[in-house]
């Protein structure tokens, strides 16, 4: 599977990670090469084989609905790049 420049730009938008032109070219070539090697999976007959997401056979892990202590707000905000009045601060989402 060869990725086009537009493919990589589209992915870049999907994962919200901008790229320089040099990165774009490098990733286009490298990811194409990797995907070509993954074509080997087409050989495998997976008819009627169910997918596995996690190894242990756990289902519906739930906890009791009771109040437990949590970290103080100040501890959580201590790593925030920008904060204001107890909130994380970001630039306007809508113009």
């Amino acid at each position: 599977m060869k990725l086009s420049r537009e493919d990589v730009l589209h992915i870049s938008t999907l994962c919200r990670m901008s790229m320089s032109n040099a990165e774009l070219e490098r990733f286009q070539e490298q990811i194409s090469n990797i995907l070509e090697n993954f074509e080997i999976l087409k050989e495998v007959d997976t008819t009627n084989v169910p997918p596995t997401a996690y190894p242990p056979p756990l289902e519906n892990v739930i906890r009791e609905d009771k109040v437990a202590p949590c970290l103080p707000q100040s501890d959580i905000l201590a790593n925030a790049p920008h904060q204001e009045e107890g909130y994380f601060r970001v630039k306007a989402v809508l113009d």
């Binding site: 990725l3 493919d7 990589v8 589209h10 992915i11 870049s12 999907l14 994962c15 919200r16 990670m17 901008s18 790229m19 320089s20 990165e23 990733f27 490298q30 990811i31 090469n33 990797i34 995907l35 090697n37 993954f38 080997i40 999976l41 050989e43 495998v44 997976t46 084989v49 169910p50 997918p51 596995t52 997401a53 996690y54 190894p55 242990p56 756990l58 892990v61 906890r63 970290l71 501890d75 959580i76 201590a78 790593n79 925030a80 790049p81 920008h82 994380f88 970001v90 630039k91 306007a92 989402v93």
Partner: protein, 492 residues
């Protein structure tokens, strides 16, 4: 013998009998760090003050007769496990200044046992890599040959333990990140069964594959650390509620009655001749010790494991790493608007390998490709797991090499991602299967270490430790320490 070369159980004997104090032991390790770290670059943050304070507390605890086998013994924690109040970077610019407000469950458990934390170990950024060359800060060197890689992603912990910068370490393993560096640095590394050790507070890479485990100088130490870190944790919803045995009880010096399989697919094309020779000698030794060996074991889907892994792991990684948006913590770019901030935060905060995997994972999960890549890989995962299950109906354990080659040179594979991925070809099927894998030193090829990998069915860590222990007692590979460092120190 130097104090820093001691194992956990040797240290514990000396501490318990009052022959050495934790403070003395800790100072010896810290001095060792200051002597060799400039050559190794194995540690991101050295926590000297904390270590000496914990050592003092441990000494009081030992005097009061309330010590555990880990009390007062210096450990290195891989820098992707949260340590309250201690910078936890994942060797990434993104988290360069991140100070967690809480401890990972494993750190909490070691704390209860009286750990002395000497620092946080270097790694490939966000645990993505097989050589430690993807650390955003510096490359860790292999203590057996400073021009070679220590393996990855837990290369810092592996190099540190081999060189005496810690008595033991905790690593994490998503596709071989404990076992491959353990093999490359000639120490013991255990990736436990998925769900055996809590992942709470481990910075997530690929949530269905990640597992924390011990990196130690011998098998007894591995059992001692497992006794502390294994067990159910309600804060990790994938943690399995299964009884924790005393793993040291499993250690015995013969292998009578054990049936071992050698899966032929693991003796891959392109495997280094010397590595294969070391493996054949090691397997013959297991036979001498009483095991029955079948060279005809087969796991045919192994050849698809690499592709399945490098679709599943990046897909999970791209979802897990979506949280790094410059808002709540970590690096934050100040751009023109909200989207510009986020997109450039990720452009400048992540290194090349992390970006490659985010792109690969995003592509594999995107509309139109999900079925062909991600769903297909998950189905292949089922087949790989079924083959392991069938194999363990016949064998108590499987024996394989840890990596097709000895440690490679720094710079050799860093620009060729596919070649780098191939160095995990013997370790990553184990994460896909969710089974445990133990690596023990098995000898040397051209002066560089070779590790033997022992695999078992889920929750068979005791069998793996038994095999590793018997082999270790019958050989002296694990007792050898890298001499190169002393030679180079003498010369300087």
């Amino acid at each position: 013998m130097n104090l820093y070369d001691l194992t956990i159980h040797q240290s514990h004997e000396l501490l318990k009998n009052g022959e050495v104090s934790s403070t003395e032991l800790t100072r010896a390790v810290l001095e060792r760090i200051s002597k060799v770290e400039e050559k190794l670059h194995a540690i991101v943050t050295v926590t000297e003050e904390l270590a000496l304070r914990q050592a003092q507390q441990a000494d009081e605890r030992i005097r009061s007769g309330d010590s555990t086998p880990l009390t007062g013994i210096p450990a290195l924690i891989k820098d992707n496990m949260c340590t309250r109040g201690i910078r936890t970077t994942c060797a990434s610019r993104m988290l360069e200044n991140f100070v967690p407000p809480y401890n990972a469950t494993v750190v909490e458990k070691l704390g209860d046992a009286g750990v002395v934390i000497v620092g946080k170990g270097n790694m490939d950024e966000f645990a993505m890599g097989s050589s430690n060359e993807h650390s955003a800060f510096f490359v860790t060197h292999n203590p057996w040959d400073l021009g070679s890689v220590p393996g990855g992603s837990s290369g810092g912990p592996a190099a540190a333990v081999a060189a005496g910068e810690a008595i033991y370490a905790l690593g994490s393993d998503t596709g071989g990140s404990i076992r491959q560096p353990a093999g490359f640095c000639s120490i013991v590394g255990l990736k436990p069964t998925y769900g055996r050790v809590s992942r709470y507070g481990l910075v997530a890479f690929a949530s269905s594959l990640d597992q924390i485990g011990p990196m130690t100088k011998d098998v007894t130490d591995s059992a001692l650390v497992m006794n502390v870190i294994a067990g159910y944790d309600h804060r990790d919803s994938t943690s399995v509620n299964y009884p924790v045995p005393d793993y040291t009880k499993a250690l015995s010096s013969d292998l009578n009655g054990l049936k071992l399989g050698i899966p032929r697919e693991y003796f891959v094309e392109g495997m280094q001749k010397g590595v294969e020779e070391v493996m054949r000698t090691a397997i013959a030794k297991l036979e001498d010790l009483g095991a029955t060996v079948d060279w005809e074991a087969s796991l045919p889907s192994t050849r698809y494991a690499l592709a399945a892994y490098y679709i599943i792991a990046p897909s999970e990684a791209m979802a897990n790493l979506a949280r790094y948006d410059g808002v709540k913590y970590g690096y934050s770019y100040d751009g023109e608007n909200m989207w510009d901030d986020m997109e450039k935060t990720r452009q400048f905060g992540f290194g090349p390998e992390v970006k490659r995997r985010i792109i690969l994972g995003t592509y594999a999960l995107s509309a139109g490709y999900y079925d062909a890549y991600y769903l297909k890989a998950q189905k292949v995962r089922t087949l790989i797991m079924q083959e392991f299950q069938q194999a363990f109906e016949h064998y108590d354990a499987l024996i394989t090499p840890t990596s097709p080659t000895v440690p490679f040179k720094i710079g050799q594979k860093v620009d060729d991602p596919l070649q780098m991925y191939l160095s995990d070809v013997c370790t990553l099927p184990i994460n896909i299967g969710g089974i445990p894998g133990l690596v023990v030193p098995a000898g040397f090829c051209d002066g560089l270490p070779v590790g033997m990998q022992i695999l078992g069915k889920p929750f068979s860590e005791e069998t793996l430790l038994r095999i590793g222990y018997a082999y270790e007692q019958a050989t002296d590979w694990g007792q050898q320490r890298p001499p190169i460092l002393e030679r180079q120190n003498d010369a300087s």
